[in-house]
């Protein structure tokens, strides 16, 4: 019970500390993302003023841009977080390898959730000016591709993709920073093997397994979460051997 209580306390402390360190990154990215629709509308209005006869279409999407930005940001962040200096700075008693592994998984979940939630919240910055322009300009046509269903399904699918991408970066980083030469050489070999049709077909199969066309969101979710868990389990192997500093 005491061990369990300690473990719980360590996990909370670790995840809170990790999330605090992500806060600044999130704020900067969200500010930049929030500015994009505003800039877009300024450009739109100034174009309208300078070319009143022009037919203007705008398909900037905060959900699409936000998704990609958060996917890349979190993938880089989790890759960098596995470098030796970062790991050693976190790996201090009572944080052991189990707390670190579970903590990183929880932090990743929280970050991915915060990413899609934050991007969704920024949607208001895109929608409100569009609604105002629709009221003010009689020639403003708002084509709405957003429905309750595709928003919720997209929220979940985007969350899954961000989790997968961050987990993959975490997994690669965990091995790469521990065995730079071996992993570097292995990456080169694997890249060169793609010239063989059978290997290329295997790569293509793996890619399609994750990113290929899916008929059902349930099936996709099942596959991607299996892969995410597998990536975290594999990432735990090099962690197990690491020592805890006193």
């Amino acid at each position: 019970m005491i061990v369990s209580e300690n473990y719980k306390r360590s996990l909370v402390a670790f995840t809170t500390d990790m999330l605090q360190s992500f806060r600044k990154t999130f704020i900067i990215v969200f500010i930049i993302l929030g500015a994009l629709p505003i800039i877009n509308f300024i450009v739109l209005i100034s174009t309208r003023i300078s070319h009143p006869e022009a037919f203007i279409t705008s398909t900037n999407s905060i959900l699409g841009i936000g998704f990609f930005t958060m996917l890349i940001t979190l993938s880089i962040a989790f890759f960098v977080s596995t470098c030796k200096t970062e790991v050693l700075s976190q790996f201090v008693w009572p944080i052991n390898s189990r707390v670190y592994a579970v903590g990183n998984f929880v932090v990743m979940l929280a970050c991915a959730l915060a990413a899609v939630s934050g991007v969704s919240a920024l949607l208001l910055i895109e929608v409100l000016p569009a609604m105002i322009l629709k009221l003010v300009l009689k020639d403003f046509i708002l084509v709405n591709n957003l429905t309750v269903q595709n928003f919720i399904e997209g929220f979940w699918v985007s969350f899954c993709h961000i989790m997968f991408s961050a987990s993959f970066s975490y997994f690669v980083g965990m091995y790469f920073f521990r065995h730079k030469i071996i992993i570097g050489a292995l990456a080169l070999v694997l890249a060169n093997l793609s010239s063989f049709p059978a290997v290329r077909a295997a790569y293509s199969g793996m890619y399609n397994f994750i990113y290929g066309k899916h008929s059902s969101i349930m099936l996709f979710s099942l596959k991607i979460w299996l892969v995410i868990l597998l990536l975290h389990i594999l990432s735990y192997i090099p962690l197990k051997r690491m020592e805890v500093r006193a």
């Binding site: 999330l19 605090q20 877009n40 739109l44 174009t47 070319h51 009143p52 006869e53 022009a54 037919f55 203007i56 279409t57 705008s58 398909t59 900037n60 999407s61 959900l63 699409g64 998704f67 990609f68 929280a110 959730l113 915060a114 899609v116 939630s117 934050g118 991007v119 969704s120 919240a121 920024l122 949607l123 208001l124 895109e126 929608v127 569009a130 609604m131 322009l133 020639d139 403003f140 046509i141 708002l142 084509v143 709405n144 591709n145 957003l146 309750v148 595709n150 928003f151 919720i152 399904e153 997209g154 929220f155 699918v157 985007s158 993709h161 990113y211 066309k213 899916h214 008929s215 059902s216």
Partner: protein
């Protein structure tokens, strides 16, 4: 920290749902077609001032007007938000209350990763940012009109493209491209640039255009 993430999640979900509610239903700018019966004994007057039109000849005694969607692939439904009205009085066909020209179309897109599912795969054409077209539609033409081949046409529009055996009596446009057509006796052309190729042109035709280009035409006396 967990409370903050939970709050952000709640705000995100509420914002997304609210956005999908307040913006309303999907809107179309592609209004569909009009079929107009005409009298073959007199000229057909097409006044589409403010728009770009493509005119093709056919063997029927009617004029068919197809509104081309300003969207690239015409993926929207055809029955909402017409943005124009066709007024037909005998052989005089006029475009009225035209609002597609000079419009801003803002597309509110949903999540990009949904394209990997069958039911959403046609939802996105990618994020293209702001696209400005100085003409009235993405292709430069807002209407595709089919007119009887043997009835002379008098056409006024911002941009005209005529092909497929039309008979022409008059054109007035900033840009006119005329192909495979018959320019009858007394034909007149006014406006900016005109380009005529592979047509039969009566010698008794007059061109009052800023520029005139001709290629592969056959000139006849009558």
């Amino acid at each position: 920290m967990i409370k903050r993430i939970a709050m952000l999640f709640a705000v995100g979900i509420v914002t997304g749902l609210l956005s999908s509610f307040i913006t309303g239903q999907q809107v179309s700018v592609n209004p569909g077609t009009d079929m107009i019966a005409v009298d073959k004994s007199s000229n057909i007057v097409l006044d589409f001032t403010g728009a770009g039109i493509k005119v093709e000849g056919w063997d029927k005694d009617e004029v068919l007007i197809n509104a081309l969607s300003p969207m690239i692939d015409g993926k929207y439904e055809n029955d909402r938000n017409p943005g124009y009205k066709i007024v037909a009085e005998k052989n005089n066909i006029r475009l009225a209350e035209y609002s597609i020209s000079g419009s801003i179309v803002y597309e509110l897109e949903t999540w990009l990763p949904l394209v990997q599912f069958e039911k959403y795969e046609n939802q996105h054409d990618g994020i293209t940012g702001i696209s400005i077209n100085m003409n009235t539609s993405s292709s430069g033409y807002s209407f595709l009109i089919f007119a009887p081949k043997d009835v002379p046409l008098e056409i006024t529009a911002d941009r005209i493209k005529v092909s497929s055996g039309c008979t022409l009596a008059h054109t007035n446009a900033e840009v006119a491209v005329i192909e495979d057509s018959n320019l009858i006796k007394g034909f007149t052309s006014e406006g900016g640039a005109v380009e005529i190729s592979n047509c039969t042109i009566n010698h008794d035709s007059s061109f009052r255009n800023k520029t005139l280009k001709m290629k592969g035409n056959k000139f006849v006396d009558n």
